[in-house]
Symmetry: C2
Subunit: 427 residues, 2 copies
Amino acid sequence: MAVRHRVVILGGGFGGLYAAKALRGHDVDVTVIDRRNYHLFQPLLYQVATGSLAPGEIAAPLRAILRKQKNAQVWLGEATSIDVESRNLILKDGLIPYDSLIVACGAQNHYFGHADWQEVSPGLKSMEDAMDVRRKVLYAFEAAEREHDPARRKAWLTFVIAGGGPTGVELAGALAEIAHDTLRSDFRSIHPEEAEILLVEGDNRLLTTFPEKLSAAAGQSLTELGVIVRTKLRVTGIDQEGVTLSGSGKTERIDSRTVIWAAGVAPSSFGEVLVKQAGAQLDKQGRVMVQPDLTIAGHPEIFVIGDLAHAPSDKGPLPGVAPVAMQQGRYAAGVIIARLRGQKSAPFHYFNKGNLAVIGRAAGVADFGKFGVHGVLAWLLWLFVHLMYLAGFQNRVLVFLRWGFQYLTFSHGSRIITGPALKGEAE
Amino acid sequence: MAVRHRVVILGGGFGGLYAAKALRGHDVDVTVIDRRNYHLFQPLLYQVATGSLAPGEIAAPLRAILRKQKNAQVWLGEATSIDVESRNLILKDGLIPYDSLIVACGAQNHYFGHADWQEVSPGLKSMEDAMDVRRKVLYAFEAAEREHDPARRKAWLTFVIAGGGPTGVELAGALAEIAHDTLRSDFRSIHPEEAEILLVEGDNRLLTTFPEKLSAAAGQSLTELGVIVRTKLRVTGIDQEGVTLSGSGKTERIDSRTVIWAAGVAPSSFGEVLVKQAGAQLDKQGRVMVQPDLTIAGHPEIFVIGDLAHAPSDKGPLPGVAPVAMQQGRYAAGVIIARLRGQKSAPFHYFNKGNLAVIGRAAGVADFGKFGVHGVLAWLLWLFVHLMYLAGFQNRVLVFLRWGFQYLTFSHGSRIITGPALKGEAE
């Protein structure tokens, strides 16, 4: 009996998982490798950060997702390099041989070289990030409750979100709701509704990938929720005491104990491994340049998909969003299957179904290219799409119930602070 | 206007929370102080540890519980001492003056002086403990999946639970279910159902606070679930590689990478502060000896309740269980109110409604003193009682749904591993 074609998939995010699923029932052996034992539904991370959802509700064990797919196995592991000659993926503690390799490592927070910002200003890329943000936000209210000095109290109640993309917009909306509704009656000394939530964007409008009209609608919805939207301002400094903003030749200092980073992500550093070992080229952002079939030039057996890939397109590189990764995952799987059958594949083509962002309780924006909607309809669409894609039946039901409950009661259920107390803060 | 009587409650567990709630609507100012921002439903911690429930489902923010109680406030803080002369509770970062003080700090894991055991063998007293246990258990299966050496693989698949009290029994039952049902199809190299779950008890039977007949029934149910019950064996050593057991003059070594500590708890060390500052007496176990009205001799303004208290009773000290703490909390509140009205209070009397423990999917034991039941009826009772007491409406609904779902599908939903990878284990 011939050995089956071995497909190794590095990363269990949207790209990797959809590639694995697309290989179900085919005559290949699939191994999914991830440092984490779960698939994370990243678009909802901000809801964990604001205590609307519990961590387990936006994550599903990779094993559980793939348990019925007999040709797939899951390995917990961290890849450090590859050997393209012997076709082995090199892990920290072992080797995995492949016939086809799909690299889908995604992206990470990027602080533009300011490593010190990272320590005081968590981003929103991992579950740990989200728990960090939640801890910081909830502790800030606790610390404010106990602070007598008005200036220091104000700094605790000032929340700065750097970056006006979808993550920043959604986070700002959710934070405003928490402060202005959920926590309203929880405190005795402070009024959480006095909390200031600032959303800072370097460009001249929010949601720059959306049409201008929808950007304006999003800004309007945020303002109604009490968010202070500041555009054309760049973050030039972050420390424990606050943030420095620059724009139009002026510099401004805002005292804030909670600065959240939603201003930049960079592709996984595994791209550099591919440069060194497989002769790949990176673009300016660090993404791996791939062929129309998503493989590296000279290595048709190595696919790069999702946030790590720069696929050719007539409109410039594709955005680092879940639908792109999913479609690329399915495509790469299709190319592998076609090759085994001796068939050729058409180049990858991204089908853009539209972009969505949600702002608070019942508002959102949706861009479908030819037309856009905003308000309740966009919010309902967002709700529907996210529930559709949330992996795992149980989560979908639980999340739906929780959202329904929150909508009716203005409550956010997951407000417990776990883990160590923050340094220099209330203990 | 006279200053209102200030009641300070140290600890937001069952004792402290029920004391605070009992003071609702009365002419006192209540301050609840806790290191954590949430009340933890400890009896269900083992379900978080085994991935049946998510952390947020057995915890509710203290602020949310007390939000409508206008005379109560919550402070996040850690008490280090008291000044009985000036009647101030001394926190790490401040003072809180009291007229009446209710100390309800509970208990912590106790390793009988073996500090090194603590590092390798987490207990089950805090949320962090439960997450540690979950991480260890899930990683053990992951590591076994990747281990080729049969002996090492067996050590990964051997789980030892030290202590055959309610926590140990419930944990063993839940672990057996996970290994034998939930994870059955998740792995490719190992068979989770081959996992060995050992429950080790020093006494000659499990659940020593229950009648012998129910102990035997519990042992029988566990054996049916595949748990190996070993009695009359003491743990004399725990390290990264396994556990040493001694009994009947013999010593035995069991290779296991996962040893969970359910063999002992000790009262909070705040008892020593009370000895030093308020002249309190401790019993041999470190509990504070209290008067029939639960106050310290010579300090009628200081109450000690719950696991930290040794209240006089004709049947010896009361057990460290939630119902005792709840009743004592309510009682202490009643004494304070009565005093303000110039009334006297009868001594505290514990009304034992019965003891319950659950074993796996549909079995349990219930002891009502005069009679006991076991099997499905005890399990249903347990289900009912726990849902009744679980704080917060939303949690109750969610937990009920999740249990229903798990009962029907044999699945355990919260199986994601967060936090840092374990040292020396799969990464």
